[in-house]
Point group: C2
Chain length 358, copies 2
């Protein structure tokens, strides 16, 4: 009887702060990074960003697409993270723009676990999940989509192990680099893991690099120059929502031409802009979207005519279904829209990768 | 040539404030209301709510599920609305908790148009949509899910018509009354029209009455007494996420028994709680959810054994798919989850209505 009592007492884990050890996430594994950067949780190194437009420089400091991989047998996972600023976005949840999103690799698949939810303010401390069994598990913790992270500590039980995964379930040697607009950056996913590059990262095990720059993916040549230096198995250019039709006419050809000439063996997938659902009512918006897609189509056809082989093209009408319910505001995708666009984009990337191998 | 010039000038509509007339939404048609109320945009009349729990009284003042129906040939729709308070919810967008959501009835279907987005503060003034053609159209404007509306003005062009629809595309004589938790109230839809009662309202043309009381749908007998007075063709009880297993054991039988005895001809659809996705990891959460569903199942079986015929039951595993991606936080559905639960709930309601007619 004494033995039984002791066992029960041991099984009742105390979750007080005293029993938690915090580990700097910087010591664990990171995925979703284009390259190493001066400030660890930003997307582009400040020196490399110096010739980019001001807006892109700012957005490059946001942590969209970056995630921490680790394994632990802790029954609880806590997180402390500091945000550089408080963000308000009418069309995003605080959990998406500033929160954390935790997945676990279970039976060969990534499965959602829970989120690090956000309270008003800069410094966040949350229990992400507790009362788990104490088997060793591999986790992936996505960082905020529309904010930065100045510091991140992961808390586990003092007597638990936490380390880089022995066999990471994301292969950082297989890299899909996605340059794009707010849709790529993740507006308006409910949480970081539902941006479409993140969905595809989990589904395929490839590392997806989120270079979505909200409202600012305008195909400046500086961005093509940067992209050409990012190791990739495939480039996805889903930036058509941002440049005006005139800018697409002017910039898309030299942009793609440059990238292709620097990296001739790496396939490029061009994605038309989703048809803004409010553009089915607002005739000015509708006309602009139509012209954006006409202009990128012309560039695609010109490059194909010039003999560029590994260039792929995905039409607007295949992206988000036809019930008009995939967006929050006509422009930005919800989890419903992201699920659909992920299903539309992957077959084209897959085809591009397969033909590359031949 | 002169005629052409004049036509072009006329076609260029000015959208300055001067050219807009505002109409009090209270003079138009309202759907999604259980009954008339003292304060027009709340869900339950204050006198009728007086014996209800304090939390329910507060939530009943929020406008979830209420929408304004009107028709207009204006090329622009503006809205001015006042919120009783500023809301912060970590797992909802400002557009969902405090914004407006506009649909138009087109070719026999409701189609999303645009939203009235929310800026920080109490008083909101927004262009919802502009640059439309000037044909007469029927619109439905959903009110905030997790806030109230103290005043609402709809702005159209001065020379345009705006009135109650001649042939409303929602039939307020066909009424499905949904009592439930935050999931019913609409957390975490991206916008008001994506809460599942609203989705079903548009898909079926039936009026769906949203009596979702976030965290507070605990089956107190006062709520059964109120529900029994609400005209309905079918009651949906999707409240199991809120009461504890013990409360379900104690309250669900008298609650349903009362409702059935007062309204014996109205079918009742019982919906199990969705399995909290974080409960697949947090063993305490998982065990509670399992017990909640076991307890409501027992009540259902007891009532069936007693010969209650028009009682229907929908199991948890049929509600939100099996990819674990339907929620923002393990608990609250996103538009992806709401689309799925709408598809799961409707066939059961439809069956209940069909069997009622026989």
């Amino acid at each position: 009887m004494i033995i039984v009592t002791i066992l029960l007492l041991t099984a009742r884990v105390s979750y007080s702060q005293d029993s938690i050890q915090y580990v700097d996430a910087a010591t664990l594994m990171m995925v979703g990074k284009a390259k190493t950067t001066d400030s660890i949780y930003q997307r582009i190194d400040s020196t490399e960003a110096k010739d980019m437009p001001q807006a892109v420089k700012g957005l490059a400091k946001q942590s969209a697409g970056i995630a921490i991989l680790f394994e632990t047998n802790s029954r609880i996972i806590r997180a402390k993270w500091s945000l550089p600023k408080e963000v308000y976005l009418h069309n995003m949840t605080p959990d998406a723009h500033s929160g954390l999103d935790l997945y676990c690799f279970k039976a060969g698949k990534w499965q959602f676990v829970s989120i690090g939810r956000v309270v008003p303010g800069i410094n966040q401390t949350q229990v992400v999940v507790q009362n788990m069994d104490s088997t060793m598990k591999q986790f992936m913790l996505y960082l905020p989509l529309y904010n930065g992270v100045s510091e991140l500590q992961i808390g586990v039980q003092k007597n638990a192990t936490i380390n880089k995964p022995v066999r990471p379930a994301i292969n950082t040697a297989k890299r899909i680099v996605v340059y794009g607009s707010s849709v790529v950056q993740g507006a308006s996913a409910s949480r970081a893991g539902m941006a479409y590059p993140a969905i595809l990262q989990r589904q395929t095990g490839y590392d997806f690099i989120n270079l979505g720059f909200s409202g600012s993916a305008k195909m400046e040549i500086e961005l093509a120059k940067y992209l050409a230096t990012v190791p990739a198995d495939c480039y996805v250019l889903d930036c058509i929502p941002n440049p005006s039709p005139e800018q697409i006419t002017e910039r898309s050809y030299p942009f793609i031409k440059y990238l292709h000439e620097k990296q001739p063996s790496i396939p490029i997938v061009l994605v038309e802009t989703i048809f803004r659902q409010n553009g089915l009512w607002d005739q000015q918006v509708g006309s602009t979207v139509k012209r954006q897609n006409e202009e990128i189509r012309k560039t695609y056809e010109r490059l194909k005519k010039e003999g560029v082989k590994n260039l792929y093209y995905l039409e607007s009408d295949k992206l988000i279904g036809d019930d008009h319910e995939a967006t929050i505001d006509g422009i930005h995708l919800t989890d419903l829209g992201f699920t659909r666009i992920a299903n539309a984009v992957w077959p084209v990337i897959k085809k591009a990768l397969a033909e590359k191998k031949q």
